[in-house]
Structures are given as structure tokens and as C-alpha cells.
Symmetry: C2
């Protein structure tokens, strides 16, 4: 009885559409931590991802893959391209990175991170940077600490979706403040992505149960012994959570 | 990029073999709560189950499906048959149910429940009943509250696997005492099934992360608006948890 899961598991409608590109998979992967293009390809396929995220490291302090290598190995045309400013320490660096990504690759969908202290986004600087990027014609996906007012301001500024920090990046603590996340979700009508510190599939399912439209997982997969296996695990976790939400099943909030 | 999950997700080795029958799926469903044979068939297929559980209600106080209807609709030959004593309130009733299931259907694998107060197993009575059933030639899967000594006694008595209560049956509280579960698991070398109160996929993944060889889910699926959809959710949850365990990924224990 080990046949494929029922058809009920295949998402039919995209949860986000931007400039004619549709987002079906609710699992988004960061790939900044990889140095092997073949591994990136395996991980994206095992995750069922339909998004490819790339960036510039303005200070060139971190290893990065060549786009030419990736294109040959990963088949980049199959993916929606998104830029990220995840290495940016300030509003200025974030804007610079976004503009350079558009100039170089024509990328207009921007995962906006302004993280002065690496693991925490700066909400106020993010709002300012988001407004500027929207004015410049970008589709902006900003990353913030859960806060209803900040999220509402970002939606007001024209952001396409809001990314909320579950717990500090790479902490593997899951959704630490479930109430703050729920209240922030309730403050906006655009899709919400939960991200940061999602280290185990149970934490990913819980994020989906809380009502996330999608999750972004990075370190847990990149640092697994076999990243493609953990990517498959996270894919199942996202499907498990989403199907439960479809059934109206949400566990009680943690205190 | 919505192709089927990677091959990594298909279990290759059975987690339990009894009398020549192999258990591959790590998701076991109770079906005592169903009154529609078609629904049972859909749920078992969506769950990827390879076990079919049946019982007698000695007092005939609950509705039950006719085996003839089930055989026609479900295709019972595809499944490993297990009997359950889940309606038994005492050691005597449990023994009577088990014997009658073997006489009627030739079932020799017995899910042994002795639950005087419905939602809690009685550890001491379960040990006594398990020893008697083993002596009579049954393969016994006893259900107990997490307790290392009781689990060790059951393994000593020859039980094939141990089922541990995660939280009270139908409570949807997940694994309440993670430390007790881990310590009990460490006390035995036979497979351990977590069961009872697993109400959401996040709770199921967590049970798998803690090292369960399999989980048994009943009420959450039976009472969902569309049981087959929630069965698919739980199937994904089990796969997500198992793949993470294969990667050595276990979150820190709850306090």
C-alpha cells in the first residue's frame, strides 16, 4: 500500500502571483549556503520548489555559486527568480543589492532583508526600504519581526507579501511567539510567509497550522547530512500542515 | 515543479515483521469510529496504510461495519489484519475479545488495550493480559502509559512491539511528557508506537521526531470534515518526521 499520496495533496491554485509568475509550492528554500550546484539542483527538486533565490554579496566575504554553473546544472528557466538582500546590514546596502540584481538579471521580485545584527530584521528600516523599492517598481517581500502595525504599514506601502520571523535565523526554535504571529497575520490581507528558525519538520507543520501561506527554510536543510532528504521531509511537512488547515484543524495556541 | 516527492520518501525496509506479514507504513489508523465502508476504503488508501484493524464490541453498544461489506469495498486481502480490544474495560474482556477474533477470523496479531476508564490504559492489567495472550500464541501489541519498567516487563513477556500513550485518547494534546516517552523508548529494543491524543500533523511529526517507529491516529481523522484529506495530511506528517529522524534531526525535548 505504498502508492503515491492521494490527489488531495497536489495544490491547484497558486498562493501568490507576481507579474505573471505563479507560486504554487509553499516551501521556499534559501540557497545562499551552498557551494555545489549539483546539490542545489537536487535540493530544489526534492523540495518541490518553484522559486530560485539569488543575491550579490556586496562585500564578497562569502562563497557563492556562479550563475553560469547553476544555469547549466539546475535548469534555472524552470524556476521563478527572486533576489534577496539577505547579506545587507543596512537600508542602503539592501537598496544597492536590489538594484544590482535587477540590472544584472532583470529580477524584479525582491526578498527584502535589512538585518543589521545578522539574525534580526530591523522593522523600521525595512518599512522605509520597502517603500522605496515599491516606488522603483519592485515586487517586494519584506522580512520583519512579528508586529501588526509594521505589517499593516508594509501592506499599505504596496508589498506583495509579508515575511514574519518565526525565531532568530538559524536558531531552530520554531515559532516562538504564536500569538504575535497570529495577530500580525490578522492585520494584513496579503499572503504571509513564516521564516527564520524553522529547524525541524514539526516546527514547519506548526507554522503552516498557524495559517502561514508558505514557509522559507534555509539552514536546517543546508546543514543536514543529506540536504535533499531533509528537503523532502520539509516538503511533506508543508503538505501535512496545509491539508490540515484546509480541514479547519488548528491546534490551540502555545502560551 | 509539482512532481511527486523524491524516492527518498518511500520506506524500503519494514519496521515490523510478524508471522510473515510486513509492516511498511508507519501510519496506523483506527477504524472503529466509521460507519461507512466506502469512507474506510478512501481513508486507508489516502493514509497509505497497510494494516486493517477490526474488533468485536462484546456489549454491542456501538455501531459497527459488517466484515462482508468491508471486504467488498476495502479489499481486505491487501491489508495485514490486526485485532483490537479497544472496547475492553477489563483484562477478562480483553482476553475474551482476542480469543473470539482469532476464532472468527484467524487473527493472531492483537492490539491489546485494557482501558477501565475508557481513555487511560491500565498498565498492570495490561502486563498480565499480554503474558496470557503471548502464552496462547498471539503476537501482542500492548498499550500502556509511558513507564520504563512496564515497557521492559512487556518486552520480557514476549510482546512484539509496545504502544505508548502520547496523551489521553481523543484529547488532541500530542506528546505531553516527552521525557517519559524517551525514557520508556530507551528501556526496550522492540519497536515503539506512539498513540492517543495525536490530533494534528505537527503533533504527529513531533512523535516521529522523538523516535517512534510508527504512530496510530484515530479520532483526528475520523472526525475531520473530510477524513481522507486529513489521512493524507497525517501520511505526509509521518514521512516528514521519519525522514528528519533519518537525518539525525531531533528537536530539543520540551520541559
Amino acid at each position: 500500500m505504498s502508492s503515491a499520496p492521494a490527489d488531495t495533496t497536489v495544490p491547484t491554485k497558486p498562493w501568490l502571483s507576481l507579474g505573471g509568475r505563479e507560486f504554487h509550492s509553499r516551501l521556499i528554500l534559501g540557497i545562499e549556503q551552498y557551494t555545489d550546484a549539483t546539490l542545489v539542483s537536487e535540493v530544489l527538486r526534492a523540495a518541490g520548489a518553484d522559486v530560485f533565490i539569488t543575491t550579490f554579496d556586496l562585500e564578497q566575504t562569502r562563497p557563492s555559486l556562479l550563475m553560469s554553473d547553476l544555469d547549466e546544472t539546475v535548469g534555472l528557466d524552470d524556476y521563478v527568480w527572486i533576489g534577496t538582500t539577505s547579506f545587507a546590514r543596512s537600508r542602503e546596502d539592501a537598496l544597492l543589492t536590489a538594484r544590482r540584481l535587477r540590472e544584472s538579471y532583470g529580477i524584479h521580485i525582491m526578498k527584502l532583508d535589512v538585518r543589521p545584527s545578522d539574525n534580526f530584521p530591523h522593522n523600521a528600516q525595512t518599512v522605509t526600504a520597502a517603500a522605496e523599492l515599491v516606488a522603483e517598481g519592485f515586487d517586494v517581500l519584506p522580512f520583519i519581526l512579528p508586529d501588526p502595525d509594521t505589517a499593516a504599514a508594509l501592506e499599505q506601502a504596496g508589498c506583495a507579501a509579508i515575511r514574519l520571523m518565526a525565531s532568530p535565523v538559524a536558531s531552530a526554535r520554531g515559532v516562538v511567539d504564536e500569538r504575535a504571529v497570529r495577530e500580525t497575520m490578522a492585520a494584513v490581507s496579503v499572503p504571509v510567509i513564516l521564516e527564520g528558525g524553522l529547524g525541524t519538520p514539526a516546527q514547519v507543520v506548526r507554522a503552516m497550522e498557524l495559517g502561514a501561506d508558505a514557509v522559507l527554510v534555509n539552514t536546517a536543510i543546508a546543514q543536514a547530512p543529506q540536504p535533499a532528504v531533509l528537503a523532502a521531509s520539509m516538503r511533506h511537512a508543508v503538505l501535512a500542515g496545509r491539508l490540515a488547515v484546509d480541514q479547519g484543524l488548528v491546534g490551540p495556541l502555545a502560551p
